[in-house]
């Protein structure tokens, strides 16, 4: 059954909310600019609750079942974090309030900056960026600003491996720089020979994802970083895959200059049906002055405070780094996401961080072992990190990764990421995360095994999958051609 549009549910004159009558004398309105039409729904509260409840039941979600969407770290989202973010002392504070009245929030922000520094091995962190791609953009702008500040104006290129996520090259273009793509070698690492050939004095830096998007730790990471440093470039780390490295290795120790974290992946904050995320950036010493701001700084007892006196108690304040690339968002980034990530880290501690990575990697290797008996795994002759990439191909069948993905839905699973990374044809990128049990992984592998059998015995079953979802395959070509993007259809 299709759910009606909210616009089709109501009736003229129906309403869901009553506002108080004005308690002040009325003022005449500027007639010229007052509107008389406004096409919003006219529904009651029960219409709304039922409509959105029914819509929600059409979604797959982590709460409903396994969601091994590679590169997205769909781990369990702890409920306590939701409650903490909604405490009135956090949800009800205005970004421009006097700093004296938001000391708790500034403290929390400061501590989270410090923890992220420690986890990534960086000298400084800004929580400004709103998502991973926004963090990338901030990072590249900082790299650019660093070279310009030194009077080094020749540098225009960012080197990016061909396995990289699409946001990496897109962020580069937005920064006014050029992309030079570097191929991967047969083990799934950055190809050193090509990298060496690309390194010269026009290189701003390298953007690298480690573990990379094949789920492999870059085996020659030290050589890679060395090559970039030798040509005067900087190293950017895409921290989307940080779940594999918590308490295992710190990109800052490996001489990375800048990295974004995804609080919505690594630190268990919810993905919200497509956001909001949060993409803090960590930097090495030399990029500190360029961090986007404001960031939070703490004056310790005994330090000189704003009035030039010695402070008696710790005091937190917002500051703009000296040569900051500027603001990335109107205020300070996604504060309520910081509250969730703070709670998460606070409940894990140092050992807990490492356990997360260990079990994410254990789960991925276990599942890789099971899946390798069913589908080819192009780079599967080594241990993976938190995820791996299989090829959705079956000998003796014409089914594609897409068919396998769609059929998985009939078993109650969300499909893996498909067709990314681009260097694996028919990619199925599988990331189980640490919060899944062995039974779940076993059931998922069993489903894949059955699907592989079906691919040979009854390929049509896969071509036409899914069969048990609220809706069948959709006509995407028609959507793009007819372009109905609003309830009142094509006319707009």
């Amino acid at each position: 059954m299709t759910e009606p549009l909210i616009y089709d549910l109501g009736a003229p004159g129906r309403f869901a909310v009553q506002m108080p009558e004005p308690d002040v004398p009325l003022t005449e309105m500027p007639a010229l600019i007052v509107r008389d039409e406004l096409n919003l729904p006219e529904v009651s509260e029960i219409d709304i609750v039922r409509h959105y409840t029914r819509l929600s039941s059409l979604n797959h979600s982590i709460d409903k079942g396994f969601y091994p969407l590679g590169s997205c770290t769909m781990k369990y989202n702890p409920r306590i974090n939701e409650d903490m973010a909604r405490l009135p002392g956090f949800a009800g504070i205005h970004p421009l309030q006097d700093e004296e009245t938001i000391q708790g929030a500034l403290f929390l922000t400061f501590v989270l900056q410090e923890w992220l520094k420690e986890i990534g091995g960086f000298a400084g962190v800004s929580l400004q960026p709103a998502a991973g791609a926004h963090g990338e953009f901030a990072g590249i702008l900082m790299m650019r600003a660093y070279h310009l500040d030194r009077g080094d104006t020749k540098r225009t290129k960012i080197l990016i491996p061909d396995s990289a996520h699409g946001t990496n090259p897109a962020s580069t273009t937005m920064s006014g720089l050029e992309v030079l793509e570097i191929p991967s070698d047969e083990r799934g690492n950055v190809d050193l020979k090509s990298l060496r050939a690309a390194c010269d004095d026009t290189v701003v830096g390298l953007m690298i994802t480690n573990p990379n998007t094949l789920g492999m730790f870059e085996e020659q990471i030290e050589e890679v970083v060395g090559l970039i440093q030798n040509c005067g470039g900087l190293v950017y780390g895409d921290g989307a895959n940080m779940n594999a490295l918590l308490g295992v290795a710190r990109p800052g120790d490996m001489a990375f200059d800048v990295m974004h974290y995804n609080l919505h992946k690594t630190f268990g904050t919810p993905h919200g049906g497509g956001g909001p995320g949060s993409g803090p950036v960590g930097v090495s010493e030399r990029l500190l002055p360029f961090l986007p701001g404001p960031i939070v700084e703490t004056i310790q007892p005994g330090d000189t405070n704003d009035e030039g006196d010695l402070a008696e108690t710790p005091h937190h304040r917002l500051v703009m780094p000296e040569k900051s690339i500027g603001r990335m968002t109107a205020f300070y980034g996604h504060f309520s996401i910081f509250v969730r990530a703070y709670t998460y880290i606070r409940m894990h501690g140092p050992e807990g961080m490492r356990r997360i990575a260990e079990h994410a990697v254990l789960n991925a290797n276990y599942l890789q072992t099971l899946v390798s008996k069913i589908f080819p795994i192009p780079f599967g002759n080594r241990a993976c990190m938190h995820e791996f990439v299989a090829e959705g191909k079956v000998k003796g069948s014409d089914v594609r990764a897409l068919d396998v993905a769609k059929r998985l839905m009939d078993f109650g699973f969300h499909p893996p990421t498909n067709y990314f990374p681009l260097i694996v044809h028919e990619a199925l990128m599988i990331e189980p995360t640490e919060t899944e049990s062995r039974q779940t992984l076993d059931r998922f592998a069993e489903a894949l095994a059955q699907i592989a059998r079906e691919a040979v015995q009854d390929p049509e079953l896969l071509h036409t999958a899914p069969h048990c979802t609220p809706i069948a395959r959709l006509d995407e070509v028609r959507a793009a051609r007819d372009l109905v993007i609003c309830s009142w259809g094509q006319s707009g």
């Binding site: 002040v24 946001t167 409940m347 254990l362 062995r438 395959r473």
Partner: protein, 449 residues
Amino acid sequence: MVYIPHTDADREAMLEAIGVKGIDELFDCVPEQFRFPELDLPEPLTEMEAADELSKIADYNLSANLTTTFLGAGAYYHYIPSVVDHILRRGEFYTAYTPYQPEVSQGTLQAIFEYQSMICALTGMEASNASHYDGATSLAEAVIMALNVQRGRRKRIILSPDIHPHYRAVVRTYTQGMGLELIEDPAIADLESLKRALDANTALLAVQTPSFFGQVDDLMGLADEVHSVGALLCVVTNPISLGLFTAPGHLGADIVVGDGQPLGIPLSLGGPYLGFFATRKKYVRKMAGRLVGETVDTSGKRGYVLTLSTREQHIRRQRATSNICTNQGLMMLAAAVYLSTMGKRGLRQVAELCFHKAHYAAAQIDVLKGYSVVQRHERPFFNEFAVQCPRPVTEINEYLLDNWGIIGGYDLGRDYPQRKDQMLIAVTEMNTREEIDILATALAEVEHD
């Protein structure tokens, strides 16, 4: 260990299946000198202890529900109907991700489609995307879209200085590598001077109404002048004000952007909020961000998908219209539920309450000795207005807070030197007449304190 379900027996069986002796072995690929650093983090707390710690931290903040607040300047304290958060708390919505797989994401997809429709209705435009990070980044994306519409041939961008200073700061951040001529001269704030700055190299003119100072301009005719030099017009606006005032789309705007925070999203120290972005259908292929379109499934049943993805980074990579990937999904849902709840009638009521209460406040303050409302009769305003004060705004605010528990308005001198000692006061439906009267009394008191 809290959220990891493994037992010792699980671990053993899994390691055996993999063919390694211990978990550590799986990390042999990490160079030894970097492997397993000691992290200097505090020891873990249980949920019970963490809840206690977080509540104590929260108590160090002064939240709007415990005070009277007249602070706005881009973030507003409005009433959020209960139903909004009840919907947001459904795990089916908040523990899903971007609806890449439409067969198992129709809930999110239809909610976005309906949101797009409501934003189109509100702004008077034909196409809305599924969101940007906030109002400031929406404006920055509008600038980039205008450059792309002109295929990079035009380099001049004119931003009215009456646009929120932080929004303009974000545009400067975004465009620092693009070699633009960014005009935001404080001397050219009025529409006439802005029009004079238009030339054949101009890609975009952006204005804000209600302006950062709360003033509402009649934009009639502006779009024609902008179009006559071949540029685009972007209007930054407050969505609540659109419950009352003419939609910018009906005045010829090419892009309408703003922050959807007033639509059911809590203040939360500035984020996450919601950047809305609406444009003309003819520009939709140059627009950034996710877009949902209607289609049918193989049996002809109506359904929704992400569409025109070839604009986006995962397909087009360095030639994408933007790098945006994760957007503000759940905040978009908040706005959709809020707008459904308010509906046509409720949104108008909220907007009128804001308008009348702000005008009452302005009248009360304007008569106080030493205070005057800037341009009170010259230009119409919505729910914010600037007040010239007899003393520095920081001093007045300190007095209001310490003696009356009132959070005062924004100090305009922070961003506009020529507006020294001007306070920007915001009034919403949350402010009662009594609170406004107390504010006036308190302000009078500071003057002769």
